[in-house]
């Protein structure tokens, strides 16, 4: 292991998944004493690229050159040995250990023949690192009760304890307050001064403006250009991120939307308890809900559907308030959710297709609580016809269907309930192009019949191509709403990033 500044070049990195090219000949270079900002939309390939660098996935083509030595792929152990360290967005500290135990986890200092853990030596070593970071806590403090920012510092301390020469920060500030963010940015500058290379991934463009020496843009898995220090501005970065050819994939609304169906006022979710969300959904419209991952869109959907309780606010459907905040009440009022996690939340995978479709409708199909298999089969048959579900036998487990057909089964569940408001959370994630088009056509057909549709999507093409109106969420609030004439990738991104 060397302590000299790192020189790292990624060249021609390509990663192909069935049906999608995640990375296409991506180039990226970084050297010690440099902070590089990596920007791109959701799904632009940032995370995949970082996983290639960290050795958790193997690229199909391309070279990783570190200090003049070229590798086709790295293993996680190799990456660590070469001094590459990650600070992840999701923090998973071991709250049963103290700070030193977390920092040196798996690399505990031992002594004696029995390999007893030498707590004092560990504490000394970690104290030195924490001093350079200027933290407010010491090595022997418990992790439980530390703020998110302090937990982030532990991750950085961990990277330093491994003598990391390249530190990759993946959305490190997404849960930090302003002053905590400032401290973190100061640490980034200190790291650079000590000769480390820092790769900084964030949606908060102002932070990149503040610390980055260079910006690299990714778009659709390809290099979208770069910016030198003097050209880094918010607008220039947004221009790097956008530029996709987006066309309408769905007929627009050809008449004025109907009257408000769902009105949410001052909703506060558990994730963002001090942000109010106001949302009005009209009959006959498809309202796209855009925003970056973690902006609080799914949390809002779960509150509207009654899965999670709200910290505050009111929800009314056609003027009637939803009081008890339970799923049963939401469904009774005509609010249905096609959840993001189809396999975990949308379906009972081992259950027959027929039973899945009938599950919410049982109170109607089974008067007096006695199941009427024939009524269930009739409903499932009708759904198969209507939604073109490709299934040879409706008694077979829904797990045997393709992703697109599974999604149609989820839809069939709710269509049988005659919904007034249908919320889609990432409606076409992981389904094929043909089924996507069918889902869009179906959404439009439902809207034409007066159903109000809220579509959460991280797929820009989908948001722009399908929505009649787009609301953009950012950090737990609605940053703005765009009418169809004003909807553009650029306008959405400007609202979605801070």
């Amino acid at each position: 292991m060397t302590h000299d500044p790192i020189t790292l070049t990624l060249s021609g990195i390509t990663k192909i998944y069935p049906g999608a090219v995640a990375l296409d000949s991506v180039e990226l270079g970084i050297r010690g004493g440099e902070v590089v900002g990596l920007v791109g939309e959701n799904g632009a390939g940032k995370s995949t690229l970082m996983k290639v660098l960290g050795g958790t996935i193997t690229a199909d083509a391309g070279r990783i050159t570190i200090d003049g030595v070229s590798h086709a792929a790295l293993t996680p152990a190799q990456a660590a040995a070469l001094g590459i360290a990650f600070v992840h967005q999701e923090l998973n500290p071991f709250t049963n250990l103290d700070v030193a135990g977390n920092v040196l986890l798996g690399r505990e200092i031992r002594r004696g023949r029995l390999g007893r853990i030498d707590r004092r030596a560990m504490s000394r070593k970690v104290a030195g690192i924490l001093e350079t970071l200027g933290t407010r806590f010491g090595p022997d403090d418990p992790v439980l009760g530390l703020s998110l920012a302090d937990q982030q510092m532990i991750e950085i301390a961990k990277a330093l304890s491994m003598d990391a020469r390249l530190i990759i920060l993946d959305e490190p500030t997404s849960s930090l307050t302003l002053s905590e963010t400032e401290r973190l940015l100061q640490v980034v500058c200190d790291l650079r001064a000590r000769g480390a290379a820092v790769l900084f991934i964030t949606h908060r463009l102002s932070e990149i403006e503040a610390v980055a020496d260079r910006v690299v843009g990714l778009r659709d898995g390809r290099n979208a250009g770069g910016l030198p220090r003097d050209d880094i501005t918010r607008d220039a970065m947004v221009r790097l991120m956008i530029g996709r050819d987006v066309k309408r994939v769905c007929q627009p609304l050809d008449h004025a939307p109907g009257k408000p169906v769902l009105e949410a006022r001052g909703i506060r979710t558990e994730a963002f308890p001090e942000r109010d969300v106001d949302l009005t959904l009209h009959g006959g419209e498809i309202l796209g809900l855009a925003g970056l991952v973690g902006a609080g869109r799914s949390e809002l959907a779960r509150v509207l559907f009654g899965i999670d309780g709200a910290r505050g606010g009111t929800i009314t459907v056609n003027g009637h308030p939803l009081a008890r905040q339970s799923v049963a009440e939401a469904i009774a009022a005509g609010v249905c959710l096609v959840p993001e996690d189809r396999k975990g939340q949308g379906l009972l995978l081992d259950f027959p297709i027929c039973d899945n479709i009938a599950l919410p409708s049982l109170s109607r199909l089974a008067p007096g609580g006695r199941l009427r298999p024939r009524a269930e089969t009739a409903l499932a048959e009708a759904s198969r016809e209507r939604l073109h579900i490709k299934a040879s036998n409706l008694r077979r487990a829904v797990a045997e269907l393709s992703g697109g057909n599974q999604q149609k089964v989820v839809l069939a569940k709710w269509l049988a309930m005659d919904p007034k408001v249908l919320i889609f959370d990432e409606p076409t994630r992981g389904i094929d192009v043909g089924s996507k088009a069918e889902v869009y056509a179906l959404m439009r057909a439902l809207a034409d019949r007066g159903v109000a549709i809220l579509m959460i999507s991280s797929d820009m093409e989908e948001v722009i191509g399908v929505s009649d109106r787009v609301a953009v969420m950012c950090r737990g609030r609605i940053a703005g709403t765009l009418d169809r004439a004003k909807v553009s990738e650029e306008a959405i991104l400007h609202l979605a990033v801070e």
Partner: protein
Amino acid sequence: MGRKDIGLLMLVLTVGAVVALINPRFLSAVNLANTANLIGLFGLFSIAEAFVIVTAGIELSVGSVIALLGVLFVDMVAQGVPWPVAALIVLALGAVIGLTHGWLITRLRLQPFVVTLCGLLIYRGIARFYTNDGTAGFTFGSHFPTLEYLTTGRTAGVPHSVVAFVIVAAGAWYLLHRTVFGRHLFAVGKNEEAARYSGINTSRVIVLAYILCAVLTALAAIFFAMYTRSVQPSSHGNFYELYAIAAAVLGGFSLRGGEGSIIGVCLGVVLLQELQNLVNLLGIPSSLNFAVMGSVILIGVIADTQFERFRTARRQAATRAAVDATSAKG
């Protein structure tokens, strides 16, 4: 009847035939009636257990509840409480126990294993304290003709415990396989989150399952108390929860929840009693009783999972072949 049930029925018949061939006494009227009586008694609480297991839960306090409620029932009746009142009190206490377990599991989010393990210890302890570790029994010569007729009597040679078992089994079959509540039990056991996202009040379903289980266990407690006529609280009902779990697992219930059938658990009870009988009649040392039962369950479960893997592999191969055929055409 599902494929698993038919397989289990075959096993029941085979084991029965083997025992009968080796020792014809197996088919004697006395032995059949005795075995049937035990099947009835053990069947009642095994069905109870099945309702909890299908929700991916577990109820470990069955044996202790049988001891505690048995002690209380015998004591109340011996003290002169009219037996129908005593029976209602015991059933109501069962409901309270089930409600408490369900509440702790759904509201306080405690693990079913922990809650009912504590129940196992608590109820046993209370039962022993209540009688000062003595035996609860009726005074010599006392008779309760109606009660005795209902619980331990016979009609045309069929023990009434078997009649109760058949009635409860039929009701349980209807409830689990033919009602919305039954469908919800399976859904909650299979994937609680997806059930919630479908509008099912999952907490209510789970609480009801524990109540149902405890009330049926209370019914079993009355039958057991009348069968033994005296209840020794330190040993009465020991290990019965494990017996019930074994019967349910044999009957195709998965401890992960969402799977199983009432016919299966009934056949499981029959098979376990058959094995007990086999040990007795074939002169196998009765100390090996548990070892024989354990071995048969283990072999059965291994065979079942291996068959399942085989079937899945065959199905996947068929799907792949179909996909290849269509893509070759296209």
